[in-house]
Symmetry: C2
Subunit: 499 residues, 2 copies
């Protein structure tokens, strides 16, 4: 190890230890903690968060970083860690501490205001907070922007480095041009009957099958835990302790299964990161979008395919003979691919999902770049839903108030979900040229697919950027056309439309 880099280790280790603790406290709170615990545990969590921040962002680390900037004998791993650390420094130094404190207090209060507004279906409760958040985000983006850079591009860069409006506009324009007509054709085609997915499914049996499913796709229970929580999520503190949750509904068989496969995809990413990277700053996914590409790949491209279910469906039928005994594999898979334009993003099918993101992207652009009046947002939201999805939310709690993100200050986050889908399709396109994906799935050899992703994506953690990972694997720059083609091909086939 480089001798100057070595001086960083105690700081990096503390940061890792505090983040381990924070992640475990959060996990525990979502899955197990008794009702009255958090009111007190929050105090410990607050201290740990401050310590996590100041363990890295302090004058001593800054000095070491300056020394390191003159160093030449640094390994790739050391360089990658330094890059990550420098980025964190720049972000945190750009904003005056006083403004940061005001902003932190604001987002803490706006979270409660958003909850109240959603519960009471009253946007006016949340609007003044959103207005202030937008003002802060614009100010902060102003501090961080480079010459000629637009403010929303600065925000987008926070979540998906180097993906700005120019590229996203092109992407969403294509989606609009190609997917909107496809959706209209599907809506006119004969509809799929998926009512059998909503019969009564015993929860204990569902648990048994979902555990089997996780194991089947390669989730290693010697290095992972599966539990339940209100909203499914994945967390981990290193590559040997990765945890996923699911939520079970008695009247919805697909919900838990697709959650398990989705979170399982996130988990395989974290389990696949190299041992030498785990517990370092690059021991995590390359970006939000790249992480989402893995979960979406498993959930949609794999988990809703006929090939995936071919070796599995019999077992599911045997478990629920009354509900599924007479349902053919074909009809089961068609039901998993039902397209239904609706209000709620998190319940959206694969085809319409990106249209939900497009609405949010366009509104965020208006907030940051066009000084839209916050009061107009609910109507704008509803107009766009009407235009793109053909539905209009009856109330703001199912419209403008449905997502938590803006109340937490996350403006610029949503597009990374759409990018994740596009990444997954580009990766899939290459994968099909290298291995026989369908045949492997049909014959239960999903481990070959998992190893392929580990080899080309997972193992690198955040030591390479998403664009580098894509380029190395596919020999091509990011290209959203693969996603559009994939969606068109898949749903033309599922709905037996004419080409």
């Amino acid at each position: 190890m480089n001798q100057i880099f070595e001086k960083l280790i105690p700081y990096l280790d503390k940061h890792m230890a505090f983040n381990t603790a924070i992640a475990m406290l959060d996990w525990d709170n979502e899955t197990l903690a008794p009702e009255e615990s958090m009111e007190y545990t929050a105090k410990a969590l607050g201290v740990l968060s401050e310590e996590s921040f100041s363990s890295l962002i302090n004058p001593e680390v800054k000095e070491i970083l300056e020394e390191l900037s003159k160093e030449k004998n640094l390994s790739d791993l050391e360089l990658a860690i330094i890059r990550k650390l420098e980025k964190q420094f720049q972000k945190s130094e750009a904003i005056p501490p006083k403004e940061m404190r005001e902003y932190t207090e604001l987002t803490s209060n706006s979270g409660k205001a958003w909850q109240k507004a959603k519960r009471e279906n009253d946007f006016s409760v949340f609007a003044p907070y959103l207005e202030k958040i937008i003002a802060f985000k614009k100010k902060f983006a102003g501090y961080g922007k480079k010459d000629g850079q637009k403010l929303y591009d600065v925000l987008l860069d926070d979540y998906e480095e180097s993906f700005g409006m120019e590229e996203l506009d092109l992407f969403f324009d294509k989606l609009k041009k190609e997917i909107l007509p496809l959706l209209k054709r599907i809506q006119k085609a004969p509809q799929v009957d998926d009512s059998f997915l909503h019969l009564n499914y015993d929860i204990e049996k569902q648990k048994e099958f979902n555990r089997y499913l996780a194991e089947y796709m390669g989730f290693d229970f010697n290095r992972g835990v599966m539990a339940e929580s209100e909203h499914p999520f994945t967390t981990n503190w290193h590559n040997h302790d990765v945890r996923i949750t699911t939520h079970y509904y008695e009247d919805n068989l697909a919900s838990a299964m697709l959650s398990t496969i989705h979170e399982g995809g996130h988990a395989l990413y974290e389990m696949g990161i190299r041992d030498e990277y785990t517990q370092t700053l690059v021991g995590e996914g390359a970006s939000c979008g790249m992480h989402e590409s893995q979960s979406r790949f498993f959930e949609n491209i794999v988990g809703r395919s006929r090939a995936f279910w071919e070796p599995l469906y019999k077992k599911l039928q045997d478990m629920f003979p009354k509900q599924l005994g007479k349902v053919s594999l074909e009809n089961f898979v068609r039901a998993l691919n039902t397209v239904k334009a609706d209000f709620i993003r998190t319940e959206a099918d694969e085809l319409t999902y990106c249209l939900h993101i497009m609405v949010r992207y366009e509104l965020e652009k208006m907030m940051i770049e066009e000084d839209v009046d916050v009061k107009e947002l609910p109507d704008l939201w509803n107009q766009k839903y009407k235009e793109y999805l053909g539905v209009e939310p009856e109330e703001d709690s199912k419209g403008i108030l449905q997502d938590i993100h803006w109340s937490m200050g996350d403006i610029g986050y949503f597009p990374s979900y759409a990018l994740g889908n596009a990444f997954s399709a580009q990766i899939y396109h290459q994968m099909k040229q290298d291995i026989k994906v369908d045949e492997l799935l049909r014959t239960g050899k999903i481990s070959v697919i998992r190893d392929y992703l580990k080899e080309h994506i997972h193992q690198y953690g955040a030591s390479l950027k998403p664009r580098e990972l894509l380029k190395n694997l596919t020999g091509e720059e990011f290209n959203p056309d693969y996603y559009i083609s994939y969606l068109k091909e898949r749903f033309t086939k599922e709905y037996q439309l004419e080409e």
Copy 2:
């Protein structure tokens, strides 16, 4: 709050936060973490332990403590916290850091050596480590000792402040004089049939009953969690998040139930500490012994009594009709009170438990005060078991190697278990004069007993010392006679011996 005391708060808060994290990591490791997790999580745990130590033991805190020593306007809570902190400072400053590091490394290795020795039934593997541990403990005790104080008294003081050999010798002499003859009489009396406790008991049903039992004794599931682990234990990070574990055996109904009641007693203590004390240095039990007094009170005095089971036994019978349908309440309770002199401390009955402690106490005295040759310990152990319990372990893994304590450097700990029993009997003696314990139990009003303990013991946390708590409640100094009388009365009755 005193202005100088206020300067301590950031240090105390960090210490609290790090200890919260450590306790949760330990809990998670014992109850849930996947097999391969700890190898990596240990790194985070190591950092958190160092941070926990240095958050309090540092020059800044020392300076504030010196300022505080001149302060007069300090509340009782502030004074209690300062006392605790000063004691920690004295202990840690007495030992040169280099020796402390050597000792820490030694106990880390000796743990593994002890495990190996026990597994292979070979004391010689552990003996050289024990020899070094004894040497270190004597050296450390020498640093901390006051004029004329004996070394073993310094060690005893670490676990149960101010209880030294003088008092313990008297206590154990009485036990020897009174309990050994009683045990001999019991061994000659007609023996109790407890074979029905060892039939096959479905684990899921046991879990249901044990959860009911915990709730019945007042364990508040809004502020607590119950789980499973190899060895039952209690942990908590504040008074609103207290967790207990149990271990279930299909062929042993009493084991899990008595564990639940025992750990439940520890849990009620922690749940009962005042809100203003929790998350401070006095937000814990008054001492090891006082904590044990609460768990033992519930396990033995309450949990093995006829009165306790009167309102509960029917429910248990209904749950296990095949196994218990024909067993009367009387025979059930007698079976819970079976006396059987045997090798293993953790499985000992109420009567012989303290004899197991006596063996350890006498050997520890020999180690520290009489320079006994470590090689002689196994034989000495076996001789004492023969003398006091009338049994001789066939092998060292069931003899001198059975307990983990010495391998962790805990010499002087065992007597606090015995003191806990004695405390509980003294408290019980007073309680019976204040409330109708048996009648309350018989009529299911156990909450009155719990509130009594909360009022007189639990709420104070570690703000009062055990001797103060006993004196305040009973109007008397510590007096082990109550324990001896209690044992004699109870077992004379259970075994229907003539008075």
